[in-house]
Symmetry: C2
Subunit: 134 residues, 2 copies
DNA sequence: CATACATGCTATAGTAACTATAGTTACAAG
DNA sequence: CTTGTAACTATAGTTACTATAGCATGTATG
């Protein structure tokens, strides 16, 4: 079972990650350089599959490349504590919260503008008036 | 009053927009090429100041360059209706809502993970367990 | 047997929206 | 006379991919 190797196309299908991105992750060092077939095709194993899945989950959670790399380094090095991981995660959560706050502010202002708008087919537009006010 | 011209430094201070960005907006055609002093320095007037303020407000509201450009084109051409503007604004608001939703989902998952975490100083971390699960 | 298709490869460029840098000029103050 | 400030241009760097060009190879089909 361990020696089951598969190509990049299969890895792509297994994970939902497009081929170019897999190669990109290899290039920037998130994924290791895999074995190659005699023809030069990449051959992956379960370990790399799991590593990629990990990367994709952290991606889905909004961690950027640097943060994903740090996670991987902590795990690879084995020199992490649960506290450290938790700390990173909490910090990231704060970032997300801040982004939500910013977007909500935008949303409020946008709604305020459209509410005032008469939606007519003339050029007298209160939205533009708001945007152009000194 | 109309002939009051000022340099890019003053425009920057008046608007809070850094100098490079002003030149960038000119390069991509959001701002017109201004007059130049004999020394070749850009000289701005009130019109451009107001135009830049407009751009910066739409930026603050999360409109991207393409959208900002469209707003400006509508205004420049005079061929807009209040409806059109309102429509664009509503569409953009939907986009913002979607982003908020995505971020909230991330936040929920992150909180769920950190809640389960024991915050210990060992390597037994439920956050990592979640991220690594098949 | 010839050809088309699928899949893989590399290297490079493009995307968005700035931001930063290098190298230059000009003027004013001490 | 040097230092500081504020302009200028052109170009590169940032983030995280995504797309393209051009090529090799194995398989299926006519």
């Amino acid at each position: 079972m361990k020696n089951n190797l598969f190509t990049i196309g299969r890895l792509s299908k297994q994970t939902g990650c497009v081929v170019q991105t897999i190669r990109y992750y290899e290039r920037i060092g998130l994924l290791p350089e895999p074995d190659r077939s005699p023809r030069g095709h990449r051959l992956y194993n379960e370990d790399i599959l799991n590593r990629l899945k990990f990367i994709l989950r952290t991606r889905q959670l909004g961690f950027n490349i640097k943060e994903r790399r740090q996670f991987l380094e902590l795990v690879d090095g084995g020199n992490y504590t649960c506290q450290k991981i938790r700390q990173k995660t909490l910090l990231h959560t704060q970032e997300i919260k801040r982004k939500i706050k910013d977007l909500k502010k935008m949303e409020r202002e946008l709604l305020r503008m459209t509410d005032k708008c008469n939606d007519g087919n003339g050029t007298d537009c209160s939205i533009l008036a708001t945007l152009f006010q000194n």
